[in-house]
Structure formats: C-alpha cells, structure tokens
Symmetry: C2
Subunit: 247 residues, 2 copies
DNA sequence: CGTAATTTTGATTGTAGTCAATCCCCGTGG
DNA sequence: CCACGGGGATTGACTACAATCAAAATTACG
C-alpha cells in the first residue's frame, strides 16, 4: 500500500511547508524534537489513506498533493467535509480513531507524527499548541463558509464558489501567472466536486458547461480552468466581490 | 439594548457552566485572574447580540439560554452556522471583528471576557489554551457532521437529524425524564430550524407534520416534542442507531 | 488501436421551493 | 367577556431546479 518515502528535501528547515504547517512557530530545538517522532509516507493518486473508524496512531501534515476528508452514509451517499492541501493538518490529538475517510486525490506526501509523543508535545510546547489552535479555528471558519454554500446556494453558485476558492488559493500561493486573467488546474474529478458541493456529477458537468458557454470560465481540457474576470466569477458565486476579509 | 446583569450565582465556583466552559480546567488562581477581566451581559429572546462585521472587544461563554450564529447573503438568504448552548464559546481570539451575526433565541446570559487580556491569558495559561483547542475541535466535528446533513440528506432526514441532536443533548444533560420515552422543548422557531437545515419554513412545517402523522414524534403545542422510540428517530435521520461514537 | 474510465448531453421524474390562503395561539383593548 | 390583531405555524396548489435513468462522446491508458 503506502510507502515510507524520503522526500526531496533533507530536513525540516528545508521543508516546503515549514512556515505554514503545525510546526510553523517552532524554533530549531523544537523541530529537533519533532524530527524524532516523525516519518514520511507517500500515497499515489486514488489511494485511501485511512478509513473512517480505523485505528490511528499518528497525526500528520500534508507536505505535497491533495487529499479529501469524506463521510459516507450506509446507503453510499458521500459528502466531502474537508479538502486537505499542503500544510493542512490531519487527525485529532486525543482521538485514536479516524472520524473520516482520507483519500489521496493526487500523489500525496504526508509528514506523520507518532500520536502519543505528539500529544505530549502539545502539552509541553506552546508553539505547537498555539499554531494548532489557530489552524483549527481557520478550519472551522472554512467549514462554516462551506455550510452556507451547501445549505443556501444554487448549483451554479456552488460551482462558481468552488472555482473561486481554488482560484483565490492558487493566486495567493503565487502559483498563478500575473495579469488579470487567472488560470489554474482543478485538483478534483467531477465526482469529487459533486461530493464537495452536495450535487450529482451530472449537475456538476452541466453547470461547468453552462459557465463555459456563458464565458465565465474557459476550459482547456477537463481540468485546466481560465477565469477571464475574477469579479464576474465572484458575482456568479453569490459573494460580493469586495467580501472576503479572510482569504 | 443589552444590560449588564448580575446572574443568580455569586462567583465562578458556583457557575453552572464551571466544568464545561472554556474555564473548565482552570484552578482557583486562574479563575481569580478571569474574574478580573469578566463581566456579564443579558439579552432577551429575539435580540441581536452582534452583527457580522461589528467591532468586538470581547469573547464570551454562554451561561444560560440559546443563541445562533448566522451568515446572510446580500439577497437575504440565511444559513445558521452554529447553535450556541450553555458553556459554548463565542468569538475568536485574535480577531476584532465578528464573522457572524449572533442572535439570542431565548433569554440569554453571557459571561464576557475583555478580548485583549483574554488573548494574553491564552499565552500564559495552558489550561485555557488547551480547553479552547478541545472545544474548537469539537465544534469542527459538529460542523462537519452538519455538512453531511446539509449536503446529502433529504428534508425528512434533516428534520429527524436536528430532533435527534437536540434529544441526545438534553438526555445527556439530564434534562429529560428517565424511561425510554424522551421529551424535550425545541429551542428554535420553525424559521430558525429552516435556517439551520437549509430548508424553507414551509418544508420544515410539512416534514414535522409528516413525522407526527407517522408516529415518529408526538407534538404537544408547537414546541414540545416527545420521541416514543429514539432508535426509530435515528433511523429516520439516516444515522445508524449504533453510530455516534461522539455524543 | 481498443477498452475502460470519465465526462457530457438528453429525457424524464420527483423533491423541495414559491406563492397564497388559512389557522392557531396569545395578548390587548374595547 | 369577547372582538381584534399579530406572529408563528400549517396546509394547499403549482412550479422549478436538481436528481435520476440512459446513452453518447471524449479522454486516458495499456
């Protein structure tokens, strides 16, 4: 299944998520303690990292790639409840069971910390505890934003919302070219988009086609999206273009 | 508007939310420090505690009563994103602006902490920081559970889910009589239920009637609900009755 | 190139939304 | 004491949006 992997960098100080992850505030002494309890694991696109209910003896940071958290009902209905990007944190200190199924949607590298020693470090290392609180509060804000999308937006607005979230994030990370025109790659299949938005994949496909027909987006292949006018997309999402005190 | 109120108890040690709120883990020295930065405020049912975007110079615990967190789009569509019960925490350390509108749905008493000194205490008092992290993680779990409800459940399942959440909570707090039969009072109007569940109030009303007609619930007046068979209600909610590792 | 997986498009159905009327419970005032 | 009024809740008729069922088309891949 998964492999224990050596990533392309040597130590925490070279880590690409060094200043965004749960370890962001740690000094070099603290990083050394973390080095002792950490190991890397890699997953290829499509692999399940863990199933809801599995025993879990680690928590982890996403180093590279994209993963999803999903919840599934007995009859198969599935809802994505989290989208994990590089630097995001997986797992809950104090809980030995996975609450959600975690799936790699692209090739994925995770930096795993053995759970027990990590929990102890939370008690002894305020830098970690504080950063974890900050990240959890951000997650909670994102979940609440998402609740508005799920509960009150139309299918078209839902798609536009998802696209604008991804577009903004990529722009923020400097992954997008400059200029007014934004371009990015969707890290999700149509089905994953449907699970994110509480729609069927047919509806996702129809609304993507409609947004394309109306010139809100331009598609190159299935996955590469160009947004000629970001304000237009935000309007389609039902967000005021000036909103977004939180990026 | 709101009044500075004296609650029915004298000090933190007599406080009804003493062992569940953000101060749950504090020792008496720490409580004394909190006493210095806290004050009580009361609101009557229906009052708005604060509007999204308002300046906020405090964070708070709900002492008694029920409040809601809501998000509203420009055209008026409203989604509840949090239901605040006694011991729940309001506000985000480090943020001076309210992200959501807070409304009292019953008479409400809040224990407010001046924001700046409270933020400093988070840094110096691990008992508070740790409890706040724990509570935030619980909130995040609740939000994710809720996302499944919003995204994937039918109107009938949504209503049954909400009722079972309230029923379980009341049973847990010992508010309900013993026996197999559960009875509780809805702390929400039909409109608030609709905002919680991403429905219209007409649909809420119809599904309440349907559940009553089918014998899943018994209504005494509009607000008092009796559940003759909790497992039946859970099944209607689409949850397996054995689920719920987290109450 | 051929097969499977993913996506798009089409036709039809069904659930919840909308618009509208009525009801019910209370409190108020004539 | 009863009429009145208002907010909340229920019920009804109709509509619309997204789901479902089904087929075709495009892409990825061995």
């Amino acid at each position: 299944m998964q492999q224990v992997a050596s990533p392309a960098f040597k130590s925490c100080s070279d880590c690409p998520i060094r200043h965004r992850a749960v370890c962001a505030k740690c000094d070099s002494d603290e990083l050394e303690l973390l080095e002792d309890i950490k190991y890397y694991r890699s997953f290829s696109a499509g692999q399940t990292v863990m199933w809801a209910g599995d025993h879990m003896d680690f928590v982890a940071s996403v180093v590279s790639g994209v993963a999803t958290l999903t919840q599934t009902m007995e009859d198969g209905r599935t809802q994505m409840v989290g989208l994990l990007l590089p630097s995001d944190f997986v797992g809950r200190p104090g809980r030995g069971e996975a609450a959600y199924t975690v799936t790699a949607t692209s090739d994925l590298v995770m930096c795993c910390f053995r759970r027990k020693p990590f929990e102890q470090m939370i008690g002894t290392t305020p830098h970690i505890a504080h950063r974890l609180l900050e990240m959890t509060l951000d997650e909670l804000d994102a979940a609440r934003e998402w609740m508005l999308v799920l509960g009150r937006k139309t299918a078209r607005e839902k798609i536009a919302s998802l696209l604008s979230i991804i577009a903004r994030r990529d722009a923020l990370l400097g992954l997008a070219p400059p200029g007014k025109e934004l371009q990015f790659e969707l890290p999700l299949t149509r089905e994953a988009m449907a699970d994110y938005l509480g729609l069927t994949l047919e509806t996702v496909s129809r609304q993507m086609s409609a947004l394309k027909r109306d010139g809100v987006i331009i598609l190159a292949g299935k996955r590469v999206v160009t947004v000629p006018d970001m304000d237009r997309l935000m309007t389609e999402a039902g967000d005021d273009s000036d909103g977004g005190y939180l990026v």
